[in-house]
Symmetry: C2
Subunit: 265 residues, 2 copies
């Protein structure tokens, strides 16, 4: 039986659900999380604005120090409702924790970014095979030679995820994803990985390699790992993110991520 | 100064405008024309329904024998408002004529199909270079190995048009064209022409070859020449079409061809 997002968040909050969130609350938006002290928040907000494809900002804390984000979910507590968090200090990963109640600061601002789960669901619904899903793997991700638009210390290369498809499915996927700009939108590249500086498609920088069949086109999307690289470069005193794959489950239907005007970034 | 569609149609009707219609009445839909006797009309209508990408049906005569199509244009007369027509008998091209008043039959049904001019305009408006336009050529068209869905004697291979683009422009173009299903919609193929049975990209079956730059992706759209091949195969007693490039200029804004739901055919 499907469970409502709020039910799943409550189980996560009470330690009854500790796994990857993929597949939970199908039909609802899941988000990447970045938490930074207020003094870095304006820069990070601008970084998202200037790099909307890897960093599609869906919501932030309404006020500095708020750990509720009512707009994303009723009774949502950003300190407890994700199964696994990562704590960074000076850009270094310090540890993973299952809640951040004890390390929450009054000057924290939470940023929630769109995630590829939403568009993968839309593609599956149209009968498109997603190789990483059918092979039970993490999507392969690659650091590219594309510079993000920097904001002060926030700078770095764009990370992309790759899904191989038949040319016909690639065309359908581009058409569908163009309508979802808040969850990475249209791909940023198709075809030759060398144009992105990716020399070995079988050795992703993050995630797992997937098989590529004869005649398939490689389709590359901007990836939500991008801001983590920029934050590692900026070395803020403290930063908290979700642990990859352990996302925030919101009350927002995926259909609300769809725009009629499309994504022409 | 831009002229209204009705003004241009009147000039065509009175022989004051006899050239290709490309570039006239920008912003308004131009159509491919197929006229057949009533006894073939149901088959052709079904052929369009079953092959919507090459044959996107926008309008037909309201009643058999009608040469006005008020829904497409005020005071429009399908017998006089196209600069050049082609007359076919038993599938053979007999002659080209500047009006069909004398050969109009009471059992004629006119079919108007969407045309690539509409999506080319939408792509240009987004800053995408269209190679055939920038090189002042006809778009290159190729007969493929793809069978149309047949309806009785109406059968044949799909014809495609090809526009080479950078990968980034190809992605934008797919996103845009996906929103215009009534003017051929999303491309049907990207990449290797051999998959369509096209062995020499420099020798199109119709139109002109265009240059392809290093790193560009070949993007293929279903083409309005497709029904002409099917009609040649079906060999109806009589058939009238527009002459390629000499289209019907309608009062319908291109923006009306855009759908929010997109084209997932």
């Amino acid at each position: 039986m499907q469970q409502a997002p709020i039910t799943i968040r409550n189980k996560i909050r009470h330690g009854e659900l500790t796994q990857y969130t993929s597949g939970f609350a199908p039909g609802f938006v899941q988000c990447n999380l970045v938490i930074l002290p207020k003094k870095y928040a304006d820069d990070f907000s601008k970084f998202c604005q200037l790099n909307p494809k890897p960093c599609p900002l869906i919501a932030t804390s309404e006020n500095t120090g708020d750990f509720t984000i009512e707009k994303l979910g009723h009774d949502l507590d950003i300190r407890t409702d994700i199964p696994l968090y990562r704590l960074y200090e000076q850009g270094e990963l310090i540890k993973e924790v299952t809640d951040i109640v004890d390390i929450w600061q009054d000057d924290f601002v939470a940023f929630l970014l769109g995630c590829s789960f939403s568009f993968e669901e839309a593609l599956l619904a149209e009968g498109i095979e997603i190789r990483n899903i059918s092979e039970g793997k993490n999507v392969p991700m690659y650091k590219t030679n594309i510079d993000c638009t920097p904001v002060n210390q926030l700078e770095g290369k764009m990370v992309v995820s790759m899904r191989p498809m038949s040319p016909a499915d690639a065309i359908k996927a581009i058409g569908i994803c163009s309508q979802y700009p808040k969850v990475h939108g249209a791909p940023i590249h198709i075809g030759d990985p060398a144009k992105l500086g990716v020399l070995d498609i079988d050795s992703p920088d993050f995630g797992d390699a997937v098989s590529v069949k004869e005649g398939e086109v490689l389709v590359f999307w901007a990836c939500g790992v991008t801001p983590q690289l920029a934050i590692q470069n900026a070395k803020p005193d403290i930063c908290i993110t979700h642990s990859p794959g352990y996302m925030l489950i919101t009350d927002i239907p995926n259909s609300q991520m769809k725009t009629a005007t499309g994504d022409l970034c």
